[in-house]
C-alpha cells in the first residue's frame, strides 16, 4: 500500500463521484465564501474540543452537510494541519 511519509499531504479520490461526473448543465459563476472560526488559532482550542478540533471529524460526517449545500466530495487532500476537500459543482 502507498504510505506517504509523515507530514506529506495525501490524496484520496471519491471514485464513485469523480469518475463520471457530468457538468454539462451545471451553472458555475461567482462563488459564495463562508469562513467559520471556532477559536482564534489551532493552539487555542477550548478544553471540551477534541485535540485536533474540526480535523477530528471523519470525512463521512461532512457528507450530509454538503448534501444540503448541493456538493459532493470529489477528493480529499489531507495533511497534518489542514484537509482540503475538492467538491463538485
Amino acid at each position: 500500500t502507498f504510505s506517504p511519509s509523515e507530514g506529506t499531504p495525501h490524496l484520496t479520490i471519491n471514485h464513485d463521484v469523480a469518475a463520471d461526473l457530468d457538468s454539462t448543465n451545471a451553472f458555475e459563476g461567482p462563488e459564495k465564501l463562508l469562513e467559520v472560526w471556532f477559536a482564534p488559532g489551532p493552539d487555542a482550542l477550548p478544553p471540551s474540543a477534541k485535540p485536533n478540533g474540526l480535523k477530528a471529524v471523519p470525512s463521512d460526517t461532512w457528507v450530509d452537510m454538503l448534501d444540503m449545500v448541493n456538493c459532493k466530495i470529489l477528493s480529499v487532500l489531507d495533511s497534518e494541519h489542514v484537509d482540503a476537500y475538492l467538491l463538485s459543482e
Binding site: T1, F2, S3, P4, P9, H10, L11, I13, H15, A18, L21, S23, T24, A26, F27, E28, G29, P30, E31, K32, L33, L34, E35, V36, W37, F38, A39, P40, P42, D43, A44, L45, P46, S48, A49, K50, N52, G53, L54, V57, T61, W62, M65, L66, M68, V69, N70, C71, L74, S75, L77, S79, E80, H81, V82, A84, Y85, L86, L87, E89
Partner: protein
C-alpha cells in the same frame, strides 16, 4: 467548490447554484457534536437546535451575475443577510465597490471581550419562537493559546477571461494537450536503460510502485475512439521527464507536486495537466515551497477546480541553546507557539471558461513575502494565467499581522496599505477603485481593475 478543514476553522467556497448557507446550521451542529466545541444556544446537545458557538464568521461574495438562477436564500444579498442575521447575534453586512458596477459583499461577526460571560438561552430568548435559538458569536473559548499567525486572505475574482486562455479549461482541449504530450514521448520499450533506471528510482522513492498496472485513459480532441490508454507509471514517467522543453515549453515535473493516485481518474488526470499547462503549478513553485501539493479536477465538458496545500518552507535550524527551545528564531512563518509545528496554508482556484459567463477565482492565505513570494508577484502571476477583462483584489489582513509586517519592513508604516502598494499597478490594467475598510481587528483593502 472547495472546503478546507483546520482544527479551529472551516472554509467553504461553493460555486453556481449551490446553497451554501443551508448547510451552515448543520456545520455548527457537527462542530459541537463531533469536534466538541461548546454551544450556548440551548441547554443540551440533545436539542436538535444545538450548534457550536463560532468565534468569528465571515461570509462574502462577488455581486450577483445571475440571481434568478440562485436558490434558497441566495437570490439576493438582502436575503442572505437576513438568513445570517436570523442565525447569529451581532453580525454586520457591507457592500464594497461600485453599486452600479462590480462590487463585493461581506458579512462578519466580531469577537467580543473574553471577559464577557455568555448569556443563557433564557436571557436571550425573545418572545415567540423567532430568534429563540439564535447563536451567539465572538466568545473566544480559550485564550491560553495564541492567535493564528500571519492571518491574511487574498482573493482575486476575475471576469471576462481572455478567450484563448479560457480554452485551456475545456476537456476537449486539455485532452488534446495531454495526448500530444503522451504521443510525443517515446514508448517505454525504446527508452535507454539509464533513463528507465532514473525513472524507476524516482517512482520508487515517491511510493508509486503500487500504481503499476493502473490505467489512465485520456480522450483525444477528435473522437472518443481515439482514446489513449497508458499505464499509470508510464504517465508518471512522462511527468518526471517533462522538463523536455521541445515537448512542453516551460514544463516542470508534476510528480513533485502531486500524489500518484490523482492519475486514476480522468478528471483528476486532466486537471493535473491543466494545472501545469496554465501555470497554476508555478504560483507557489516547489523551488520556494517544496512541500506544496495540488489537487486539480477538470470538469466535463469544461470548468476547473484546484486546491493547494502549502506548508511553510522549512527554515534553517538554528543551534539549540541550553534550554532546548530552538534559540531566538522569531520567524513565525514556520513555528507555532511551541515551536514544534510548521504552519500550513491553502490556495484554491475555480474556473468557469464559457464566454457568456467566464469567471475565475483565486484565493489563498499563504502569507506574502518573508521567504516566499510577494503578494504582488502572486497577483501578477494569477492575472497573467487568465488575462481577465476585469478583476477585483481583496486583501483581508489581521492587524497584528500588519503591525508585524510594518515592523519587519522598518518603514514605519502603521498598516499594510503601504506594504501592498506594489499591487496598485498591474501591467496592462487600469485601477478603477481602491477602498480600505478599517475593522476592529482586520483591515480590508479592495481594488478593482479593468483592462487598458
Amino acid at each position: 467548490s472547495s472546503m478546507f478543514v483546520f482544527p479551529h476553522k472551516l472554509i467553504l467556497k461553493t460555486c453556481g447554484t449551490t446553497t451554501l448557507l443551508l448547510g451552515l446550521h448543520r456545520l455548527l451542529r457537527i462542530a459541537a457534536e463531533h469536534a466538541g466545541f461548546p454551544f450556548h444556544n440551548t441547554q443540551t446537545l440533545n436539542d436538535i437546535h444545538a450548534a457550536a458557538t463560532p468565534w468569528r464568521v465571515f461570509y462574502s461574495r462577488k455581486n450577483f451575475l445571475f440571481p434568478h438562477k440562485q436558490e434558497g436564500p441566495h437570490r439576493s444579498w438582502k436575503q442572505e443577510v437576513k438568513y445570517l442575521d436570523d442565525m447569529f447575534e451581532g453580525g454586520s453586512a457591507y457592500m464594497v465597490g461600485k453599486m452600479n458596477g462590480d462590487h463585493w459583499y461581506l458579512y462578519i461577526t466580531s469577537p467580543q471581550s473574553p471577559f464577557t460571560p455568555p448569556r443563557t438561552p433564557e436571557e436571550r430568548t425573545p418572545t415567540g419562537t423567532a430568534g429563540r435559538f439564535k447563536i451567539p458569536t465572538g466568545r473566544a473559548p480559550c485564550f491560553n493559546g495564541g492567535l493564528e499567525s500571519n492571518d491574511e486572505t487574498l482573493e482575486i475574482l476575475m471576469t471576462d477571461l481572455d478567450p484563448e486562455n479560457a480554452k485551456k479549461f475545456y476537456l476537449e482541449n486539455a485532452s488534446a494537450v495531454a495526448s500530444s504530450r503522451l504521443s510525443a514521448y517515446p514508448p517505454r520499450d525504446s527508452r535507454d536503460a539509464a533513463a528507465a533506471a532514473t525513472s524507476a528510482a524516482a517512482s520508487s522513492s515517491a511510493g508509486m510502485d503500487d500504481l503499476s498496472g493502473s490505467t489512465v485513459t485520456v480522450k483525444t480532441a477528435s473522437t472518443e475512439e481515439d482514446s489513449v490508454s497508458i499505464a499509470a507509471d508510464e504517465m508518471l514517467d512522462v511527468f518526471d521527464n517533462g522538463s523536455d522543453s521541445d515537448l512542453h515549453g516551460s514544463y516542470t515535473p508534476l510528480s513533485e507536486h502531486l500524489d500518484p493516485e490523482c492519475f486514476t481518474t480522468e478528471g483528476h488526470a486532466l486537471g493535473t495537466v491543466v494545472s501545469d499547462v496554465c501555470g497554476l503549478s508555478e504560483v507557489y513553485p516547489t523551488s520556494k515551497y517544496p512541500d506544496a501539493r495540488i489537487d486539480s479536477y477538470l470538469f466535463s465538458p469544461c470548468g476547473f477546480s484546484a486546491n493547494g496545500i502549502v506548508p511553510a518552507p522549512q527554515q534553517q535550524q538554528k543551534p539549540r541553546d541550553g534550554n532546548g527551545d530552538g534559540g531566538e528564531d522569531n520567524n513565525n512563518e514556520t513555528d507555532n507557539d511551541n515551536g514544534s509545528a510548521r504552519s500550513t496554508h491553502y490556495f484554491t482556484v475555480h474556473v468557469t471558461p464559457e464566454p457568456v459567463c467566464s469567471f475565475a477565482s483565486f484565493e489563498t492565505n499563504v502569507p506574502g513575502g518573508q521567504n516566499g513570494r510577494e503578494t504582488s508577484e502572486v497577483v501578477e502571476h494569477v492575472v497573467d494565467i487568465f488575462k481577465p477583462g476585469r478583476f477585483s483584489i481583496t486583501l483581508f489582513e489581521a492587524k497584528p499581522n500588519l503591525a508585524a509586517a510594518a515592523a519587519a519592513a522598518g518603514d514605519g508604516l502603521a498598516t499594510g496599505v503601504g506594504r501592498s502598494k506594489r499591487m496598485e499597478k498591474i501591467k496592462g490594467y487600469r485601477r478603477i477603485d481602491r477602498i480600505v475598510h478599517d475593522f476592529d481587528d482586520y483591515e480590508l483593502v479592495f481594488r478593482f481593475f479593468e483592462r487598458e
